[in-house]
Amino acid sequence: MELSAPTSGDLVEVNVLVNGMPCKVAVSAEDSAVELLREGLQLTGTKLVCGEGVCGACTVLVDGIPMNSCVLAATALDGRSVTTIEGVGAPLHPVQQAFIAHDALQCGYCTPGFVMEAIAFYDCWRAKHGTKQPTRAEVVEGLSGHLCRCGAYVGIIVALRAACEGRFDHPVAYGPRMEAVDKVTGRALFTTDVRERGQLEGVILRSPHPHARVVSVDLSAASALPGVAAAVQLLPDGAKVRYVGQEVAAVAAIDRRTAKHALALIRVVYEPLPAAVGVDAAKARGAPRVHPRFSLSAPRAAEGPRVPARWRGNVHDTFDGLSFKAGKARKLIAAARTRQDPLLIEKRWQADVQIHTAFEPHACVACWSGDALVVYASTQAAAYVSQRIAKHLGMAKEKVRVIAEHVGGGFGAKLDLSAEAIAAIELARVARASVRVVLDRQEEMTVGGYRPGARIHLALLARPSKLEALQVAAYADAGVAVGSQIALLARMIYPAAAKALSDFSVASHQPPGKPFRGPSGPVTAWALEQAVDEAAARLGLDPIALRRRWDPDPLRGRLYDWAENLVLWRNRPAPGSERGRYRRGVGAAAANWIYFFQKDCEVEVGVDKGRIYVATAVQDVGTGIRSVLADAVARTLGLPPTQVDVRLGDTQLAKGPISSASRSTATLVPSAVQAALRLRTKLERRSLSWKLAPDQIGSLHARSGRPRDVRRASSAARPLAGTGFFGLLTRAGFNFFLKLGVGRGYTGAVHVTEVEVDTRLGTTRVLNVAAGLAAGRLAAPELARSQCYGGIIQGIGYALYEHREVDPSSGVVLTSGLEDYRIPGIGDVPEIELHFDQRGFAHAAGASVGLGELSTLGVAASIGNAVHNATGWRPLHLPIRPDRLLEGTTR
């Protein structure tokens, strides 16, 4: 019976054929196959994401069958044959070619797993059915054990169907994303894959208390453990911890297991303090204070500049700064309430916390060489983080180099210098060796970042021709962080005679929230756009027609034209007409966003060894900025994009932007074009051409910052115009502190969504989404489509599935893995139609504006309106879970 019974820690030898090569690997009984492959054999194409068999990123073929290597015992590989992503792709498999051609990937972190599963599906399909095309449902079922946080599912489905049909049996060179080959072959190197010589593994000791004082930290026993190279304290004695999971100390050792053992030997004496976990506890009378009065040290959950605020207990109050005739608005709404005006729509809305959970966790590898530091980081802000590291350590900027060649998703969670980087840097300094710190999924789900929860009291006084008055009081739940723009964003879309807008953050003893794709935007739309829908119903008007009356923006006006003419919209059921178990509904939502660009960036275009290159220290988080840059330069110089090399993700290059606030394209494209033009002038002055042999040109380059937008001749609105002193202050904050330019004109979006509600089991299935998006000229149309598909799919997750759950007394995050925290799967993807209106930004340098955020803003609101159209029940609380839907519809 007991074939082998190794005890923990003892090594067993496993004989396994890996990609056709016989391997002998010593493993521990508790190891999983993924450790054998990644650590033992350094086959890092296989990725570890969830660690519990949910997401499929670690899928490999075992005797030809796809299995999750994270929950497969390493010992189970003995005598078996394993194929990893490194074992396919020379030449590229038709599935890989199809993934490249159909842009079936974004950040690329889940891609190797998808490719392995798709290859197994393809082989099986071709053997049974030849080149008959599988149905969408068959492909979806086959890939149902895989998750993609970027939402690249649309391309994946199309790619696999096309590959099975035989459309990629012969090599096809084309693909819209230049790094796609590296990503479908597993060659793309992410921070988690970096392995320097003598590299150590670092792990972090975290606070088990939601609120406590660190009395003392004793590292001696941990330091003395054989294999441990460094143990450092991350918080000084006497400091407070304010949430479960806060970083206290860290250890570096020869491997992760030893480091974890050492963590258990660290003795921390805490003085537990009374805690306020969650908004209700934090607002209660006598609640313990999270931050000292007048504190400015709270982390920020929003991207905007810090605005003036006061603390009332744990409530951070921003003075209604961006209101407009607030007193009048309150008066109008109070009067409407008194006379029971049927055109007063007043409700309390709520949104649960949404976790970013990028598939590459927060990760960092730090390497010192003398007094210089090289940091590999999974970051959206290489250039900014390198500055922050230099400042943190008191070093010269030139001595810190940050490298981020490929980043496995961010969505706003990786915008700053974070604790795993500080831990890696400190450990590497003490250990005098490279140290890698990679958060496990539980850590990522706890401290990696989340979109703050919210409670919104919104009152809207409607008139057929205009929005009369609006009052919004929004309370954000961002844990120890503050900063929320839910009410402020309600300022931007429909003009009104008066608006009273108040944004509060309620500080509590929870990890800090962070900006998440369109910070506050989807929440604002959830409340405002459903209120507008309700107003249309009470006025007996078509909801899109009402928006057209209220919204003077010409760009969204065109989107309303487009939306009204959709068959989807015209065929929407009359309210109350759906009576069966399954009820169909169609809803619409509008949204707008600010056009941002970063002002202190540069792009270099040059010739080196006979090749044209474009270089800037931006990072690719899955948006495809490499191809955007290559295309811009190639177009300017009249070359095919394949002749342009792209260098990025390295702070030795010209300063690049942070990948957030939809700024990358608007920042970099005009700079790249300008730099390319300058290079061309330089070449022409010397009567040279880039077609000459390398030695004839030598090396030559030109740099450019971002040229200015056309100043006049623009009818586009100036965002935050007319917002008085606080508006000026906000604009100034963007300009001076964040180096973020606010361009003229809002980008616009209209989402029209069809759902089918199962009123028996409480489920909502999204059948169709049509998204009209206006953000100027598309710099790279295929990549823009991919990004918008992803934004819509993340919006569906926000609307229907995603909610963080916390233990109410300890503050421990319970949805600490992808099993309990549910992100959209491939079966949840609707048919998506994208409509781009490319006019309206001729005044913008480059004429292209970002749309990463725009595409997600109105999704949840349109689903809310569709559910209402289907059932007559107005969902107020995000997400629309089955239990909430059943309670609401059967009441």
């Binding site: 923990s8 999750n68 497969l72 089991l761 409480g762 759950e805 099993e819």
Partner: protein, 296 residues
């Protein structure tokens, strides 16, 4: 404590998180524990049979369609290819307090259930013992509906109910004695021309632990139900048979009214926790859904 490892899909997760510290005993390679044998008298399914093999078995699909359907629906294709029938029946609870190393609970040798007074959104709505976690085995629900027995290496053969007990044992996920090993499950022959269905309530399209799941079997003669089995899962610390629903079905016509009446009996005896009231309504709905599917 000993941890037996077959497919490992449950154990590896607990080893990774540190919740399991057990000494590992490998089960794989044991002859005779894998495979499906169908005979006129019923079926015998070895404990080491992979779930995918069970789902794809033509004989099982024909004779025990709800078992095949349950096997084909649970988890994901990769997990079904790795995990075993025995492992599914004996897996540890998925309760997020149990799975989180920060908490102690009855099933980790502690003396309290942190879910009961904490966040128990996905817990039981039948409060049968001190632990409020529902049993996670989908196959157990199907086997209960099919009147299956289990056999152990020590030679015991007992009804599947006995594998789990009545739900009052907060400390164990099953009732096998330490050291004994599940060998097989044995199913009696199905009734003639019986119909069966497996249905689950989940938020997403697939690959999700059910909020509620149900297996029903109906034998019909001339439109009259002559025998019925209704078993439900994800609602109690053990899979439950719903006798009152069965009794309501037997002798009645397979029409909408009697199916609804029988389904409404399924939640009889439910005692939801503050956050699991929704499961009571969902249980009735899921049973009705399964009954309707079986009658199609």
């Amino acid at each position: 404590m000993i941890e037996y490892r077959a497919g490992g899909t449950d154990l590896q997760q607990r080893l990774r998180s540190g919740v399991s510290q057990g000494r590992i005993v490998e089960l794989h390679g044991e002859p005779g524990l894998a495979g499906i044998v169908l005979a006129s008298g019923g079926a015998r399914i070895g404990a080491l049979t992979r779930i995918a093999a069970l789902a794809e078995d033509r004989g099982i699909q024909a004779a025990y369609p709800a078992l095949a359907s349950a096997a084909a629906t649970l988890a994901t294709p990769q997990i079904r290819a790795m995990a075993t029938v025995g492992g599914n029946l004996l897996q540890r609870t998925r309760c997020w307090y149990f799975r989180n190393p920060a908490f102690s609970c009855f099933k980790k040798g502690g003396d309290a259930c942190p879910a009961r007074h904490g966040n128990h959104l996905f817990s039981s709505c039948f409060d049968l013992g001190e632990c409020v976690a529902p049993h996670p085995s989908t196959l157990a629900v199907a086997l209960l509906a099919y009147d299956a027995h289990f056999e152990t290496k020590s030679g015991q053969a007992r009804p599947i109910e006995a594998l789990y007990g009545n739900g009052s044992d907060a400390r164990n996920d099953h009732q096998l004695v330490q050291g004994d090993v599940l060998a097989a499950v044995v199913l009696p022959a199905p009734a003639e021309r019986e119909r069966a269905a497996y249905r689950r309530a989940i938020a997403r399209a697939s690959a999700e632990w059910p909020l509620v799941e149900a297996v029903v079997r109906l034998a019909l003669r001339d439109g009259i139900i002559t025998a019925a089995r209704v078993a439900v899962g994800a609602v109690a610390p053990v899979p439950l048979r719903r006798m009152r629903s069965e009794n309501a079905l037997v002798g009645s016509r397979a029409d909408r009214q009697s199916l609804e009446a029988a389904a409404s009996e399924a939640a009889d005896g439910a005692r939801p926790l503050p956050m699991t009231h929704y499961k009571r309504a969902l249980l009735t709905a899921t049973v009705l859904d399964a009954l309707e599917h079986a009658c199609r």
